[in-house]
């Protein structure tokens, strides 16, 4: 019951944190805060000025270019650069990262697309592959290993120095994307390899990044202008992009302080001029504006997290409670969470009541009292409904 009661109470009171939306204003050259629920003056800047919706559209052209276009207000150029809808679309992307991505069960099977298909668009291949101690392609129809194809890939991997067993493979096995760049895989020695299938033949290359950076994780993103492959996370918590140049894998670091890969949610919105990086930490939302070309920091802004109803309720009612599900992880792990001392007051009260009412024997009374002190409301209810212990 220590698990179920908090679950039920949280269902009554929990509301996910809502942070205002933050985006870097190209015109103001700083981060702006947008509250979409405020219809008159949705946008405010760091100095405290507020702006109307139409002013906001003009000040955030990269975000609202469709609105500006339909109003006929889209300028021909900003900061000396020509802009039109096509250029803006090609340069815009949104990247999301959630800690549950790494704390999730992995089924061990992957799908490798043809990177240079003859026809436009990606087609699902008719096999999947596994790659733990060696690579094996399994045909879905026959449920058997395709020895020939597996052999070719295995040789290519060994030739390029891949050390099995592999640590992880990251790609995007979803056919609904503009193009495919295969998988990035970390081998047993911390080297990052790029693997894809080109015209049916394997393409394997050691990116060499493993020598310079302690790689923790990689997340792939297919951006329209093919500028980079995705985002690399180092053990120290820094984020890099792996730039897409033929035969070369240069990294470029985002100029932001280290993040906690196990607790922080990250959203990066990029456009032709700047990137807006929003990191949701347990204590609040930290936002940065970065220059698009150099990824140097231009601005930063922090929004403190407000305590929701669930936090306030749980602080008073449950000093310690048991959870199994977590928003940070796709695993179910039993964890005891400690909320604070306020609820101990409630526990002490219940312990006194419980100690007096539930039994006549002094020793049992003390036992009951201590039991309720530790387990709180759950223990109180449990003692209420459990059958009486046998006397003597």
């Amino acid at each position: 019951m220590m698990w179920l009661l908090p679950v039920l109470v949280s269902k009554l009171t929990y509301k996910p944190d809502r942070y205002p939306f933050v985006y870097y204003s190209t015109i103001l050259n700083e981060l702006a805060v947008i509250d979409y629920t405020n219809k008159q003056l949705p946008m405010s800047d760091k100095k405290g000025n507020t702006y109307t919706t139409s002013e906001m559209d003009s000040l955030l052209p990269m975000l609202n270019y469709r609105q500006l276009m339909s109003d006929g207000r889209l300028p021909d150029s900003i900061k000396g650069q020509e802009i039109n809808a096509r250029i803006l679309r090609a340069k815009s992307f949104t990247f999301r990262y959630d800690p549950a991505e790494i704390k999730t069960p992995n089924n061990g099977l992957y799908i490798l697309f043809e990177s240079m298909p003859k026809r436009v668009g990606l087609t699902m291949p008719d096999d999947v592959f596994r790659m733990k101690d060696k690579i094996e392609f399994i045909n879905t129809e026959s449920n058997k290993v395709d020895e020939a194809k597996s052999q070719i890939f295995q040789e290519e991997l060994s030739k390029n120095g891949y050390t099995f067993p592999s640590s992880w493979l990251i790609g995007n096995p979803n056919p609904r994307k503009p193009y495919d760049e295969g998988y990035f895989s970390l081998d047993n020695k911390g080297q990052l390899f790029h693997m894809k299938m080109v015209n049916g033949r394997p393409y394997i290359k050691n990116t060499g990044i493993g020598d310079k950076i302690d790689i923790a994780y990689f997340s792939m993103l297919e951006v329209p202008d093919k500028r980079f492959y995705g985002f690399l996370f180092s053990e120290q918590g820094y984020i890099y992009i792996i730039q897409n140049e033929v035969g070369n894998y240069q990294t470029l670091k985002l100029e932001i302080p280290p993040i906690d890969i196990e607790a922080d949610q990250i959203i990066i919105m990029g456009n032709l001029f700047e990137w807006t990086v929003s990191i949701t930490k347990p204590e609040g939302k930290q936002c940065y504006g970065l220059d698009n070309n150099s990824l140097k920091q231009l601005d930063e802004h922090f929004i403190q997290r407000e305590l929701g109803k669930w936090d306030k309720v749980s602080e008073w009612v449950f000093p310690v409670y048991l959870t199994v599900e977590s928003k940070d992880s796709n695993y179910l792990t039993p964890t005891f969470l400690y909320t604070g001392v306020y609820a101990l007051v409630l526990n002490i009260l219940l312990a006194i009541i419980g100690g007096i009412c539930f039994s006549n024997i002094t020793k049992r009374r003390i036992f009951n009292a201590i039991y309720i002190l530790i387990t709180g409301v759950a223990g109180f209810l449990a003692l209420l409904i459990l059958p009486k212990f046998r006397k003597n």
Binding site: P105, N107, I385, L386, P387
Partner: protein
Amino acid sequence: MFQALFYKEWVKTRRIIILIGAIFAGIIIYSFINTGQTFRIGGSVQAWADIILKDAPVFPSIIQWLPLLTALLLAFAQFVPEMTNKRLKLSLHLPMPETKIISTMLCYGLVILVIIYLITYIILITGLSFYYPQEIRILAFWKSLPWFIAGLTGYLLATWICLEPVWSQRIYNAFISICILALFFIRAQSGAYLPLLYVLAIIVIIGFGLPFYSATRFKEGKQ
């Protein structure tokens, strides 16, 4: 003495066990038909991709509830006749320690359930090996394991409720049982239960002790 006890339990429950066996057989056949249909309609590539990318279920959804329901059926078939007219008194007057009697009755039920579950598992996993690779079969195993453990736990908890002599206490017990069983049916990804399995095992072990408690209360003639 054990043989006689087992025979008594068998006579009580043999029809129910045959019924349970038939239900499981039916579900196994349905699973295979379902899988064959998925492959025929969407194609093998689609079926595999759905499981790998979207964690689509490998077994039909009815398998989630089947172990629990059949376990409850068995528990009621075994113990409701004991409790009508307080016939448990007769069983407890046999020339054996009371804990041994109840242990034997519980073990009988658990062994029957484990045998049925194992046979079902083996047939399903072997059959699926035609359609799916090892990784997917392992996924299906981990996903359905909590449900089968829930079956064993449900059997023990149902016995606990049946043996309890006081009706109002039975309702409280039922409430607690539902709370405990809720832990086994959380909707989560395949393989997510891995860190929790030892907790589930502990729950089964504790559950084994609960019916003794009710039987003691029965013996004392609680009202």
